[in-house]
């Protein structure tokens, strides 16, 4: 490995996101209250990378698409597309995992849930490609900078950690939407 390869891993955009963490809560999270915001379906996921102890908590708020009543539950596929309205996180970890969370916050806010899920799949395929997939910056935006991570299998987990937390939170939203009477898991 040459120094330029290390610089491909630690691209400036990644170092910047690691330093100026978008969407990161500066205050410790209070107790999670799934019903804390009227009209929003809230979910939280905490993930730990057991290899190194990195951890992250992601909180998302999903709102039913335009036209839905302010406090209506998120609707199913037949209704307006639900949109990710809130994305906040708190974490402690290496520059790769922290930058990944920052990019994730920028990328996901405002997307529909199905757009977000598709992007998670694209990102995961990129990271698992061991450098064989050329990232589409049009689709991935800043997340394309993590292509270099795919050549370092030991670091793929670092970059994926926030995305896995986000995905788990979306699954909770989906589960709660499918059975609105049941409490969030």
């Amino acid at each position: 490995m040459s120094s330029s390869e290390l610089q491909q891993l630690y691209q400036q955009i990644i170092l910047d996101h690691a330093k100026y963490r978008h969407g990161a809560s500066s205050e410790p999270f209070g107790v999670f209250d799934a019903d804390g915001a009227p009209g929003l379906r809230l979910a939280e996921s905490h993930q730990v990378n057991t290899t190194c102890g990195d951890e992250i908590t992601v909180r998302v708020g999903v709102r039913a698409g335009s036209g839905a009543a302010a406090d209506a539950a998120v609707t199913d596929a037949a209704g307006p597309a639900p949109v990710i309205e809130q994305f906040v996180w708190r974490g402690d970890g290496c520059s790769i995992s922290m930058a990944s969370a920052s990019v994730l916050a920028d990328t996901m806010t405002g997307l529909t849930v199905s757009e977000a899920e598709a992007l998670v799949t694209t990102f995961r395929e990129l990271l698992r490609s061991r450098g064989t997939i050329e990232p589409d910056e049009e689709v991935l935006g800043d997340a394309a900078a993590f292509a270099g991570v795919s050549k370092y299998p030991a670091r793929v987990k670092c970059a994926m950690l926030p995305w896995v937390a986000f995905e788990a939170a979306l699954m909770q939203v989906a589960a709660a939407s499918a059975a609105p009477a049941a409490p969030l898991a």
Binding site: S2, L6, L15, C52, G53, D92, G93, C94, S95, Y152
Partner: protein
């Protein structure tokens, strides 16, 4: 640290020289490797050490010449295997100042701690009869550990406390990475049944005052278990002189193979201790309802043993003994001091544990302001330097020191001064690379 001055300081020995280290390196083929275009600079022996050729040959020779089940069978190979297996026990026991029947093979130190914890648990259920009564614990009894323990010497005691209703307490760590001995004197008391602590910290490198802690525990009739994982490979250790009741260590940290470690227990204690794992090879007579158990150490060695690993570990011990543990200890003490002094000069680097000039084993863990340990490790790996990053299986200690992860460089008898210096030079480049201004 006068009370805890390690015994190797009193030895009339001199440290291994640079030339001797250069010769030693010829015995370790893996060190010839290049990593990312650089010679491998292996500074992770605290996690696992490398193997000399003699250790690998011992294992191969066993499989080529003597492989058979030990302690059973009436054929020549079975006798040969048993002989070399028991001879390995004698070698390793002598290395730590124990009698052969005081040394129980385990998979690693973790299994050794669990063996004692589960045996105490079994005694507390009434197993083992009157001989085991002294090991019974329950509500009102206390198990004491320290805040600097590796998870292997913490979680088995947490679990034992949960199973028995005993209370787990701990001796706190001071800001300088030493134990709060004043607090220890108030925590260890009449309720204490067992004190488990590490001989040397795998993170901060502190060498704990064993004699003082053993005296404290024994004053109240409490048993002492010593985690010797970071000392048996690096310092002369004599468990009889230290008067500990139990001690554990792992083979792979002392030039041996993985999958083998040992538990030392005083003969009179092992004699009363009920077994942990049960099955074949640890019994005398068995009927459908009952079994009678063998005397130690076989009572604690159920099933077919790690024969080749035990033999290879004895070869590792021979290698260490021939090199001289006192000389290895002095050499690593020098390298440990060089690491600490060099790291302390780097802006933004905080060395954890004892400051330069204070006794420590040959390792140093540190925090780099603004750069996560994982990133430090990645940067060093580019230069062929292998270090450990993360919590080093000591999350409570890291929390106590106000961090979640650190980077650790650890040396061994094959580490050169140049390697330490190359590591220190690379460390100067870490903060600039990540754009952090200390």
């Amino acid at each position: 640290m006068t009370l805890s001055a390690p015994s190797f300081r009193r030895a009339a020995a001199v440290a291994l020289t640079e030339d001797e280290v250069a010769r030693i390196r010829n015995d370790f083929p893996i060190l010839e490797q290049r990593i990312n275009g650089h010679p491998l600079n292996y500074l992770d022996s605290g996690a696992t050490s490398q193997n000399p050729i003699s250790v690998m040959e011992a294992e191969q020779e066993y499989y080529e010449q003597r492989n058979a089940a030990v302690h059973r069978g009436a054929h020549t190979l079975a006798f040969a295997a048993t002989e070399v297996f028991e001879s390995a026990r004698e070698t390793v026991a002598a290395f730590i100042g124990a009698q052969p029947d005081e040394l129980v093979w385990t998979s690693n130190a973790t299994e050794g701690v669990n063996l004692v914890a589960y045996a105490i648990s079994n005694a507390s259920l009434g197993l083992g009869g009157p001989d085991a009564a002294r090991f019974r614990i329950g509500a009102g009894d206390e198990i004491v550990v320290t805040e600097m323990e590796h998870h292997a010497n913490l979680i088995p005691w947490q679990q034992l406390a949960l199973r028995t209703g005993a209370t787990l307490r701990f001796i706190p760590v001071l800001d300088d990475g030493t134990l709060d001995l004043a607090a220890a004197a108030t925590i260890v008391g009449p309720r204490t049944r067992l004190l488990a602590f590490t001989h040397a910290s795998n993170v901060v490198g502190t060498i704990n005052p064993v004699a003082e802690l053993v005296e404290l525990a024994h004053r109240f009739g409490a048993l002492v278990l010593l985690d010797a994982c970071q000392t048996v490979p690096h310092l002369p250790v004599d468990v009889a002189a230290l008067d500990v009741d139990f001690a554990v260590f792992s083979g792979h940290k002392m030039l041996g193979p993985t999958g083998i470690g040992a538990l030392f227990g005083k003969a009179e204690l092992l004699a009363g201790l009920p077994p942990f794992l049960t099955g074949g090879s640890m019994i005398t007579t068995v009927d459908m309802e009952h079994a009678e158990f063998l005397a130690p150490p076989q009572r604690f060695e159920a099933g077919t043993q790690r024969i080749s690993q035990a033999i290879a570990l004895a070869a590792a011990v021979d290698y260490l003994t021939e090199t001289g543990m006192d000389r290895i200890a002095l050499r690593e003490a020098e390298l440990g001091q060089r690491l600490v002094a060099g790291l302390a000069e780097i802006p933004g680097v905080r060395v954890l544990g004892p400051a330069a000039g204070i006794d420590r084993i040959g390792l140093a863990a540190f925090d780099v302001a603004g750069v996560h340990a994982h990133d430090v490790g990645q940067f060093l790996d580019e230069a062929g330097i292998a270090v450990r990053v993360g919590h080093h299986c000591a999350q409570p200690l890291h929390r106590r020191l106000g961090i979640t992860a650190s980077t650790r460089a650890s040396t061994y008898l094959y580490t050169t001064t140049d390697e330490v210096d190359q590591f220190l030079a690379a460390m100067h480049e870490v903060a600039p690379f990540f754009g952090v201004k200390p």
